[in-house]
Symmetry: C2
Subunit: 239 residues, 2 copies
Amino acid sequence: MENRIKALLFDVFGTVVDWRGGVARDVAQVAPPVDAAAFAAAWRAGYRPAMDQVRRGELPWTKLDGLHRRILDDLLADFGLLALSEAEKEWLNTSWHRLDPWPDALEGLHRMKQRFTVATLSNGNVSLLVDMAKRAGIAWDCVFSAELFGHYKPDPETYLGAVGLLSLTPPEVMLVAAHNSDLAAAAEQGLATAFVRRPGEDSEPAGQYTYAAADLAELAMLLGALSGLPCSCRCRSIR
Amino acid sequence: MENRIKALLFDVFGTVVDWRGGVARDVAQVAPPVDAAAFAAAWRAGYRPAMDQVRRGELPWTKLDGLHRRILDDLLADFGLLALSEAEKEWLNTSWHRLDPWPDALEGLHRMKQRFTVATLSNGNVSLLVDMAKRAGIAWDCVFSAELFGHYKPDPETYLGAVGLLSLTPPEVMLVAAHNSDLAAAAEQGLATAFVRRPGEDSEPAGQYTYAAADLAELAMLLGALSGLPCSCRCRSIR
């Protein structure tokens, strides 16, 4: 199966970027006394239930920025932060656009890009993903988001939608993620799968995946995507 | 108006890449005796009528690759090329994935990317645009295609769809194109507009556009997007 893989789709939050660190950093800036790590964890804990409301049709389609803001408004009360200005709240809500890649991510993605199409497949909305990539210097070939399909992962429309836009078949496309539920849903649709172990995400692969790797640099090696060439691109990390 | 522009959408065929040269080059390779320039022009002449069939609902949604193939199959008869093998026909059909950028395009796009989100807004399907960008080294922030919206330009759904995915308003987005019809349709929806003069495309701007430029390097200058820094990225052209 491995030899026919032509494109790699990356889950983003947790897999490519460190949401805990980035959100906690920004929370600490506008609300220094708060337990920033607890705030970040509580915000993320609201993510799946909010998306599930959309997935069940209880909420109309809402960009992730909008869901994040709904969750944030509840959290601000819980954490005694109702005194934040509207501008501070909006800035804080876009902390998800300002997450930093894991240390191995730029190098790993750069190497994989030499041999494969590399794209996001994230529940983050398109503008969130574009802002994040520009700030972090991630050179995606293409940005696929749940927003394009009007369905959040793990709905099958997301995996099959990305495969269709790539004009490929499911076995030619591999999802890379740190979450078993995402990988299981992709495998169900016939995609290849790669588990990446990330701090605070699922600690072990729970299925028979095509690959399992410690990080994106190791995945690039497993895929034979070492270019062997000195890097002169904006990825900065392999020069 | 100019100061609020945050994202630039680029028409691709004719505006960023030279379709005449690229298609003629590939036709000459599989069918050397044919008038390659005439073949390329005839192929492109079938493009608007085929898309209009989709736009009027006479054909179901079809990727541009599929429309190109329908037109090609007719042309092969007209040009006495029915003896081509299926593999040669398929290879020829993907010549639209292998078009070269105009000489100023990589440099201009690189400069504009420092200050703006730069994305395609093309009738080409997503995989066509991704293949083209990878081959040519164009580092789009995002690939928007008519395919995402199920509507071909100049349908308003394409311009407004891209603006929505960018989480911007129409005046914050500028369409860059070498075609008056495309620019007029974008202006109708409230987008800013930039005309670029390209050989064989519309020779003069026919409307009151926000900008008009000789090429993408000049447009970058007009937009004040000169970085002044030596380029060390994959754009290769400004080092």
